[in-house]
Amino acid sequence: MSTPTESAPAAPKPTRIAPIVTPDAKSFWDAADRGEFVGQKCGDCGVFTFPPRPMCPHCHSLKREEVPLSGRGTVHAWTVPRHPHPFGFKEAPIVAVIQLEEGTRMVSNVVGVRPEDMQMDLAVEVSFEPTMNNHKVPVFRPRTK
């Protein structure tokens, strides 16, 4: 006898490689696992930094805060890795440098767009995709609003 769960087509197992988590970046990836997109903001002077670090380069405060980011940004640079085919992807992904609204940048993927339709400065918003070992990573899709 099958339950409804068993009869539904099994979701494909994520093949994307899990993030490499270093101690200083752990809070970023832990938040991603919860489906939250956070950035590091200085608890004293309010400057945003990426990649995460233990000290604010502006005022040298050690008071780091993880705050929710808007998740909105633009594509500052992008490429499609054709050779070698990147490990963990069925189709070659669009890799991009995302310029975030808060002023920092990060590398991610743009999903929901065909490579031939990619444009520099495309407005995007955050979304999440699963990885191997039950983690999630923030990716970006064209903004709807």
Partner: protein, 388 residues
Amino acid sequence: MTRTFKEAAIAGIGATEFSKESGRTELQLAAECSLAACQDAGIDPREIDGMITFTIDNSDEISLARCLGVKDLAYTTRIPGGGAAAAATIAQAMAVVNAGLCKNVLIWRAMNERSQYRFGQNPTNMQGYTGGHGTGSLLWCIPYGAMTPASWAALQAARYMHTYGVTNRDLGHVAVQQRAYAATNPKAWYYQRPITLEDHQASKWIQEPWLRLLDCCQESDGGVAILVTSLERARDLKQPPVKIVGACQSIPYNVEVISNYYHDDLTIMPEAWGTAKRLYAQTGMKPSDMQAAMIYDAFTPHVLMQLEAFGFCGKGEAAAFVKSGALALDGRLPTNTHGGLLGEAYIHGMNTMAEGVRQVRGAAVNQVSNVTNVLVSSGMAGAILSKA
């Protein structure tokens, strides 16, 4: 020994053959090229008292010293940043000779970067991305499928190419010129194998729509070594001394090697601009004082961005500069006359440093006439080598 300031010079260069399968260990390649550099200089390898390499070189200082019979090492150090270290090793060697800390500094880089492991393939070991390896923030790229140097370089080049309307075909002129140099260099892997712009355009996409196969450097096995000593001593040795007039590193705020997306303006290489500014200030020289340039060319856009950083042309003008034939032997700035990392071999930029030395000596296969000063650059570091 009392320390006094001493001018530094390159007295010897040495290399193994450049191949795709050396058939011997990296340590053996290191020992062979180091011995060759000492023999070139006429220095007994036992007298080496300083050793410098890249953080990511796999050979141990002690193991190499044991091969060469080094009697008493006074100084060792390693430079981070992958190939960015190339010219920085020269800056370090210059500094320790200037400071009177060492008499004979050996710089080496040796690797089986084709037969034993390949930088151009997906990584199999993530340990190198966790810090302490001098490779910056690559860990932020891996889960997104940016797993190779070409992918990191494409993201770096994209904004530059987009902003200035540089096409992939424009990049082809760099590759064609360098392969022309390689074609007449018997040491080059691509000896007697020049390419046309059409060949470049027909090569497969590595990073679409920015980099094709022929925009990428090779993967190579081999070793290169350089022997640095005082200018005074170099004058009495076998080769004409090549003076290190100036050498420096520059790593401006928020810049890192290759995954270099966090600084303000992605249409420039701030590290190369910083290196240029520091180097010209140090030496009192200017771009027009250079008769040739040897520029780190892991990927063709790096050449364009460094030509602009070092002031050989204006911002966004490098593609036109190259297209005009400026990099040829009869051009305004003969560049990468050995064929570069694209044409000769990828020994992490050290073979490019060695070509700078040959040009100053007047001993290059593709010799530039009347060379007094040559700029050598590995992006985050540079040096000016001159006739003594």
